[in-house]
């Protein structure tokens, strides 16, 4: 792997008495779409602000292309930010907004004009140059905010929940737009969001954060399919997190029933957390020695039915395209490869981190 573009080493940040980031280490590669994902207060925005230069870390170092930039003010960093709620200059029209950074850098008039045209085309807002920001919709303003940042040709674009203020449909459109932009520009995106769907859709790499710690780092597939702890499993999508016991390699006991699984190396008779995604639960006819239960709730969700099944003292969340009416007796079966075994948190401290939202 080549040398990272940005390196955070031992970053610690405290606001008043709250530890927001605790000894955070993170490397970001060139041309990567990396998402910092987590609930509010997990430290993701603070991390972004430290990279952008708007917040100073109490401890630790920040490297950009191998050089330490911890003390460099924001206006001298080779990165640009797209802020929450756009932060356009309301007294300037769209062209002037986009030209802001270029005028500061004293670029020629022709260069600025070409850049404005290019940027407006890139974000599909050709011909909007003379309008004022408040004449544009939220989605359009957000695209202008992106255009305003990228005309400066930053090596890294920082995006702080840029789609948070948009409605669902627009958010989905903008996700595709952002992926396209990233591919066209070939620059590094660091994206902050609390929306797990957004993170899964767009990222090359997701960093799941909670309480100032990195919980898990990996590709969207890894994060979704192989969550490393209960917090990640719970935060990324719906899941059934069940107390279980690893009887031996390849056998786990949950709700009093032994099921085959594909995990090894947990030891014998060890308590574990078992994660099963709702779409991986298969409902069958009741079986004599299997896990049986009763459907207690049913909601039609469009793509699938969402059901709750009371079985073995646990309420199972089940997504299925076939309908089992409320009150019907069903059996529950899960393929071995869809059972995800996780170690219980080792210490109470870790448990607090994992459980706290």
């Amino acid at each position: 792997m080549s040398a990272p573009l940005i390196d955070l080493v031992g970053i610690t940040k405290q606001f008043d008495d709250t530890l927001v980031l605790d000894d955070l280490n993170l490397s970001i590669q060139e041309n990567e779409f990396m998402t910092l994902l987590g609930p509010s207060g997990c430290g993701k925005t603070t991390t972004l602000r430290i990279i952008g230069g708007f917040t100073q870390a109490d401890k630790g170092q920040l490297f950009f292309e191998g050089k330490e930039i911890s003390g460099v003010p924001p206006h001298k960093r080779q990165l640009n930010t797209v802020f929450q709620k756009y932060a356009l200059f309301s007294h300037l029209n769209i062209e002037e907004n986009i030209a802001f950074g270029l005028k500061i850098k004293k670029k020629s008039r022709q260069y600025i004009k070409d850049k404005i045209d290019y940027a407006l085309k890139l974000v599909n807002l050709d011909g909007y140059g003379k309008r004022m920001p408040d004449q544009l919709s939220g989605g359009q303003q957000q695209r202008i905010a992106i255009a305003r940042a990228i005309v400066n040709e930053p090596k890294v674009l920082l995006l702080d929940e840029p789609l948070g203020a948009l409605d669902l449909k627009l958010r989905q459109d903008m996700q595709y737009e952002l992926i396209r932009l990233k591919n066209e520009l070939g620059i590094t995106f660091i994206y902050v969001t609390h929306d797990q769907e957004e993170a899964l859709t767009m990222s090359d790499k997701i960093v799941v954060m909670n309480q100032g710690y990195i919980q898990q780092m990996g590709t969207p597939e890894q994060i979704y399919n192989e969550p490393e702890n209960a917090f990640v499993a719970d935060f990324i999508g719906d899941s059934n997190i069940i107390d279980g016991t690893m009887i031996q390699d390849l056998v786990v006991e949950i709700c009093g029933v032994r099921l085959p699984c594909i995990d090894t190396g947990f030891g014998r008779n060890k308590p574990v957390d078992v994660v099963i995604r709702p779409e991986d639960v298969e409902l069958t006819l009741p079986t004599p020695d299997g896990l049986n239960g009763v459907v207690s709730h049913l909601i039609f969700k469009g793509v699938h039915y969402e059901m709750e099944v009371e079985a073995g003292g646990f309420t199972w969340l089940v997504h299925s395209t076939s309908l089992s009416p409320v009150g019907s007796k069903v059996g529950i079966s899960v393929r071995p490869e869809n059972i995800q075994i996780m170690n219980k948190p080792a210490s109470e401290d870790e448990e607090a981190i994992a459980n706290d939202e």
Partner: protein
């Protein structure tokens, strides 16, 4: 539906009554007085009275002093409003301290300045005790400007602070992010965004300063006549209500013209007071 709308319109009733009784009718009466002689015959003399040498001088001096106080207020208030904005929520005590004098009677405050500034007053007493040269500004235009600035400063601070506090931190951050240093950010972003606040503040200081007669009376020792003093004397000393009304109309036109001039800078109309 009809009754609901009628009900809402009735709510405006008390205010309308107030406006008619205490603003519109007096304005009409003033207009009539201003354009008639004591016998009730039509005349332009009361209006033209402003052209006399003494009145013109007073008007120019009023414009000079009120303009000067407005500029000083702006220069004092802007940095303070910026500091208050930076402080965020913890600034309420300071805002309170600046607004506190407004709770005291305007006359009392001005008279207090008189006794502070007097030749044998408090300030000179302290200066003499310290063997420092005394300051001798009572009964000069400087004392009047001081009184105006002191009395009207809160009216500059509040609208400015309100306007600056509304500027999103991220808008300022965005300017830095795009390469602007502190000065560039101020000139290109903060200052233009605060124009509505500047206009409100300027209006709220300039208009009362232009028309005041109390401050010039007390701190100018009735040696310095502002246009406000001349109009006041027409009513209270000469009992010539017609001339007083005529001069008031001219002064009102000056105020309106200044406002129109100021509002040219206010594209959004956010700072409009009139």
């Amino acid at each position: 539906m009809m009754s609901k709308r009628l009900g809402k319109q009735l709510l405006a009733g008390p205010f309308l009554l107030w406006m008619v009784a205490f603003t519109i009718i007096p304005l009409i009466l003033m207009g009539i007085k201003g354009f008639t002689t004591a016998d009730g015959a039509f005349t332009l003399e009361n209006i033209l009275a402003m052209g006399s040498e003494m009145n013109i001088q007073a008007l120019i001096l009023s414009l000079q002093l009120s303009l000067m106080s407005t500029v000083i207020c702006l220069l004092l208030a802007y940095p303070l409003a910026m500091i208050l904005r930076k402080m965020g929520d913890s600034n309420s005590v300071i805002v309170f301290l600046f607004v506190l004098p407004m709770w005291m009677n305007f006359l009392l405050r001005t008279i207090a300045w008189q006794s502070l500034l007097e030749k044998e007053g408090v300030i000179n007493g302290i200066l003499t005790a310290l063997h420092l040269p005394t300051i001798d500004i009572i009964n000069t235009p400087a004392a009047i400007v001081l009184g105006m600035v002191y009395n009207f400063l809160p009216f500059m601070i509040l609208p400015l602070y309100n306007c600056l506090a509304k500027i999103d931190d991220n808008v300022v951050n965005a300017a830095h992010d795009l390469g602007a240093n502190w000065l560039q950010t101020f000139v290109r972003v903060i200052l233009p965004l605060s124009v509505p606040g500047i206009i409100s503040g300027v209006t709220m200081v300039f208009v009362p300063a232009l028309t005041t007669f109390v401050i010039s009376d007390i701190l100018g020792g009735s040696k310095i006549l502002l246009i406000g003093n001349i109009i006041e004397q027409q009513f209270t000393v000469s009992y010539d209500w017609n001339t007083g009304a005529g001069l008031s109309i001219v002064l009102m036109i000056f105020v309106l013209l200044s406002m129109a001039l100021i509002n040219i800078f206010d594209k959004d109309g956010e700072g409009t007071v009139l």
